[in-house]
Symmetry: D2
Subunit: 368 residues, 4 copies
């Protein structure tokens, strides 16, 4: 496994959905940052199952505990170990599936890779693993907010065939996003999404969707060409989320059909520095932030575990009809919102430190 992410600001996650607990070790967070546990808990609650009728009824209280790295509410500079105990384990739900690899799930590939069975493999490929990312990402986010004033807001921009209009990126907040259980700030689209998800759920089926995300307040200069470009690390971070199928920065795939004269973001004066008239770049040029709002989208496939009957085969190759059990969301995107925010925060916090190393040393000595 490769459960560590980041170069200077790093998280290492652990935990199966059906083991004792899930958590993360965050290493590299500078000392002296005031850390709010309620802020971490708030993000965990946004990810938590059972929060609305749109999500799985699996109930977990998901209380965060900090085992190290914090004293008097401030970071010590040492690793922060974050732990959430599992309580609502129903391994029995999965026993029926032990002989049948669930289609488009990780059962088959985990068995081929690790030689371990479905029940155990499912534990690490489970969406529950993302809980650790959300906890760690909240630490990154608080660091970014405290030191740079960076704000990160994700929202559902598509669920099934329903797409939302583009929000006002300069003013969108999590409060607005959370105004509807589906987490789409376009209320009209939100209603249609809710209807689509409810219909799919009633049919024992599921739907895919898209989560979009913005990062405000990122200064120009973050991103490490040529392989750890800001957009490259965001792409890795987002595709590492279970069920993600695509990543698009700014104009994304629509850039393919455009001409350079349309797509180029012309420079304009913006206070003491340069801004751009448009933002097809999504805030990143040459893999480095340009001071504009960073925005990107992440596509998610429909939840593979569905109640609807599926004609497939078991590990021995015998034809079976599978009717998925267990407690799963009919559409993952509302709960994926804080996960996308968390992964964005991890990428930014790491690149912030990496740029700080360079600028601090040299600019102090050679002001330009």
């Amino acid at each position: 496994m490769s459960s560590t992410f980041g170069t200077l600001f790093r998280m290492t996650t652990f935990g199966e959905s059906h083991g004792p607990g899930v958590g993360a070790v965050v290493d590299g967070c500078p000392a002296g940052i005031a850390l709010s546990l309620p802020a971490i808990q708030a993000q965990l609650d946004r990810r938590r199952p059972g929060q609305s009728s749109l999500t799985t009824p699996r109930r977990e209280s998901d209380r965060i505990e900090i085992l190290s790295g914090l004293e008097n509410g401030k970071t010590l500079g040492s690793p922060l170990a974050l732990l959430v105990r599992n309580h609502n384990q129903h391994p029995g739900d999965y026993r029926a599936m032990a002989d049948v690899p669930r289609p488009s799930h990780a059962d088959y590939t985990y068995r081929m890779k690790y030689g371990v069975g479905a029940q155990s493999g499912g534990g690490r490929a489970s969406a529950r693993e993302t809980l650790a990312r959300v906890a760690a990402g909240s630490v990154a986010e608080q660091f970014l907010e405290t030191v740079f004033g960076v704000e990160i807001v994700a929202w559902v921009s598509q669920a099934g065939a329903v797409t939302a209009s583009m929000p006002d990126l300069a003013n969108l907040t999590r409060t607005k996003v959370d105004g509807d259980a589906v987490r789409c700030p376009d209320r009209k689209a939100a209603a249609a999404m809710t209807a689509a998800i409810t219909t799919a759920a009633a049919m024992q089926d599921s739907l895919g969707g898209v989560v979009s995300c913005l990062c405000r307040g990122v200064p120009a200069g973050w991103g490490e060409p040529v392989f750890d470009k800001l957009d490259a690390l965001l792409a890795q971070a987002m595709l590492s989320i279970p069920a993600a199928k695509g990543f698009a920065l700014g104009s994304g795939f629509s850039a393919a059909a455009m001409s350079g004269s349309e797509h180029n973001d012309l420079f304009v004066v913006e206070g003491q520095k340069l801004g751009t008239r448009t933002n097809y770049s999504g805030g990143v040029q040459g893999g480095i932030s340009n001071g504009q709002i960073i925005f990107f989208a992440v596509a998610f496939k429909p939840t593979p575990t569905i109640g609807k009957a599926q004609r497939t085969v078991d590990y021995a190759g015998r034809e079976v009809v599978l009717e998925g059990k267990g407690r799963h969301d009919p559409c993952v995107v509302p709960r994926a919102v804080p996960v996308v925010e968390a992964m964005a925060a991890m990428v930014l916090a790491d690149l912030a430190l990496r740029q700080a190393a360079r600028s601090a040393l040299v600019q102090a000595n050679f002001p330009r």
Copy 2:
């Protein structure tokens, strides 16, 4: 900078477009692999400027030289240093742009990050940097072909508004792809793409596009959850290519609008192992290859340097009209094809070694 990519099979690249040379050090390639220099050169030639009327007239012979790691045509297990000297440098072309950051290019962000000017910064953000990736990627590819029989083929699936039909993934070859200068195997679409690119070039403008890529022969089990999943590393690799804007695995963004019962790839018996009836997954489930053909798409924006007049501002904030000079492609996708193949090869070679470590040790002792 972060110029090293990979954990066990790694490349470290170097070189500016206007310095003495560009190259890569490939470390971690196992010993005893027969390496063909003509095969490396062939991929470099497919990336080389000036190969057709669709590409920049900058002429470079791009002859590869191997400085270490090879003896009697076989790898020694030590680092392979690959070097291509620059010959056709026209730094003068860029002097006029020294005071004006080119819109949607990396001039501005490099200056903000490194404090160095456009001419130099442009050197590393230049497409010429990808030459090093192609050379290194060809080593990875030869390793994969020799040991596993893996084949990697990329092609242009969109240029401007023209989209191609899906080719037969089981039988597509580079020869078929190269049958047309635009590198689209759908000949009807290829003709329309050529017309669109020619028109854009005539208008001193540029076009975006999409490169798609398949990997055949990858066994089940490659990919390192949870952060170095196969699709996550492919996404990082692809977004690190200059001008890339998006990545999509298998169904990609279209998965968002689908239901689980449509999207799930039902298992079927395929010889001695399990296959899938459909392949919306793009050959990857839970971040691990499942033995099916891996395929994905990469969106590229239109080349930002265009001859067409653009109203922008210089670094001092003064309004200027910029007419780009220098020698640039009107559409990057035909030459991006070998770059996409190279990056895919780097990702796969690294994950192949990482899985080999696990399977070798344990399966030898605990056959399952």
Copy 3:
């Protein structure tokens, strides 16, 4: 901080001596390895304070808990999270020292680096941090023992001025080592060491020492030149242990005074392969194991916290007389034995996997 060690077989540690707990996440251990909790606990007990009159009276039960990665006693291939709760915290003992940096301790450097005070900084620089290493190292050790039959045994070869004779490396066991509380298998030397330590303790003083270590059963071929050579990683691992001052492989510093004709280990036939007549190399040549017994020594300084009065200055530069409180060992080496073993195991497990990646792939296809 940099709390992760290893490339494929990795540990990430966390925890302050005076926080809720100390632990480690072990990532990269192959699946299917039977893991014995009592074996982990046994090594923790050998490191535990309060086990004999030679060690600090701080009492900790140090019970290990595994939070993830294990099912039915076998590893799942996913991260193993190991946790030990702290119980016997006496932060009050350290309050008196908050204004005075303890000489040769990390108080001053932690404050300079992180800007945090002595009490907190002391937490991570404390010997208690090594508990996490011992737990993780025991996992590595069990992996090495199960798959390769590797055995690792460390012992005290010097305490203060008392040096022990070289034991029979082929037959030394932990049982023999533990036959005396000072962990020196040379019983005559052990008695002298005990007397020296007891005398130092009575004078409120402390002593340094040397821990030697052997690794039996390591096949030829482990170690990754040129920077991750087996001896280079052992040196890093050992110097990262608190209070370590030196590392010596095989002949170590005595090699300096020798001639090549004395020092060279001449080859001899040893069953089906080559062995060496002598082993000044300590089992490593060119950074790679040669199949002989690996052995090395680690020097430790005397415990810096002593009760004896010391004339030093506080952070404000005022002269003070410091009499150390808190509970500290008069000589660290007996308890450092399992820590040295643990770090050796981490190095070997990682290099075993790295070599397996290479040999598996290539030797399967190109038998030599």
Copy 4:
């Protein structure tokens, strides 16, 4: 292989002694640093064979060429590729040894690890590989000198049985060190060392030795506990040098025999900050620099290739008498001096950037 060293300030080396060339890519050096090629060349010349009667007569001009990353004498922030072509290749010298593994050399272990023969394997294990380190280390050194005023000076403190007195660490310079070909600033010891080496050479034998090194001007705060402690990384760096057998920081192995009250470095006021009365710590406490002079020693074994007849066996197990040919130094330490300096510089440059990341960000916002 693992040919990359460092986290932020990194080098990747390549090259066999008998291939086309040897070199390094230095990535992560901040932009805007004035780089002197003559300074790099000067260090290469100090490492170069044939510089005195004490060294191998192999003659190499070793001219450095910079292929990238530099413009108008200043670093661009992009990778610096450094290349030295090989000219004086005598592979024939080694042919006789192709069937016989040279005792205590890497022939046997390279063959066991990579499956490649002595001639090729010897290429990467050769001392010539250190040339790349010296070139890269000189870049690191110039960075450290420019930004921090750090000075690094190594010298020969032992050759064979001859040991030198401790020099005045505050005032030792490379000029003083180079006053004698053996590079020992204690002239009386130098003469004895020269005699000992000359005698050994005359007997077709070789001698070991010790190189000591100091680093002046390192501020308090460099080093990343718990695994990338300053001393731990120095130990790895030094043991990765061919023929190194041991590492000792400050008091080193002599600390073992001392008591805490002797060994503790009591604090004193030193200008605006705290200094220490003694420096047994060698400038590092808890793995972090404390602002005092850093000093350490590295033990080297006698050159294993000797002309003197050795009774050993060939790969097939047949007894042979081996008389080494090829051109080798009778004692490696005079030429190891710039290698030790280079590796120290690489460690310090990397840790400088890693600490800068932390201090820049947080101290700017939370001055302490």
